[in-house]
Subunit: 111 residues, 2 copies
DNA sequence: TAGATCAATTAGTAAATACTAATGCATTAG
DNA sequence: CTAATGCATTAGTATTTACTAATTGATCTA
């Protein structure tokens, strides 16, 4: 079946469904800012593959970039996860299962 | 890159990344219990396709079934979303960005 | 300047995937 | 019993996708 112009939920899900690409996102997130070359190192795939994954992630709104000299630094854009959160919210998963955490988190933030 | 024995996050993400399959899950969820025939109606795809999607969803732990006579009734298993929740939890998306005022929320839930 | 490094893009390929049509196997109905 | 219905499964197909290798265009460096 075909969707008109691609639902954001679909875009984000598809971006994160691939293990390699998700690993890229995770590394970007942990690194605050990281170049393509460094991402390529230890990724197990070529630089070209990494660039392609970054393109997908960017289109999904999950990462942003900053060019500096011949490097391009990527950083995570967790707001891009919003469509997922909204979608899941609909299923009441958060409250029922994370109830405990809410109280803990609140204490932690503002004791 | 290859993952040993398929990460649950990957399984769930992949299951929900396809719009048709995700629509099936949504309908199952809304219906509390629904037969394959009824799911097929108005789905735009064949009964076989629906059965295949249900198989994926079941393997991902997102639905469960109950056979009765020649019908098989499916119901949602939102616990199957747990891997997603856990994964996303790691990015602090839920509480910090979704609710500006946790205190109000907590009061509202448990005054 | 000439070379080296960084990143994006392209062309090509093997594998995965979403589908259909057809078949088979139960179960129910006439 | 025979016909019909509900569902799963199979084989086959077109499309998508994740990758590599190679190229290009920058920018930095010796």
């Amino acid at each position: 079946m075909i969707e008109a112009a691609q639902n954001p939920v679909t875009t984000v899900m598809r971006a994160l469904a691939d293990p390699t690409r998700r690993a890229v996102f995770e590394r970007v997130f942990e690194s605050k800012e990281i170049s393509v070359a460094e991402l390529t190192r230890g990724s197990g795939v070529t630089q070209g593959a990494i660039s392609q994954h970054l393109k997908s992630l960017k289109q999904a709104g999950l990462v942003a970039e900053r060019a500096e000299g011949r490097n391009v630094y990527y950083r995570a854009a967790p707001e891009g996860l919003e469509p997922l959160v909204t979608w899941m919210d609909h299923y009441g998963v958060f409250w029922r299962e994370r109830f405990q955490n809410l109280r803990d988190l609140l204490k932690e933030i503002d004791p």
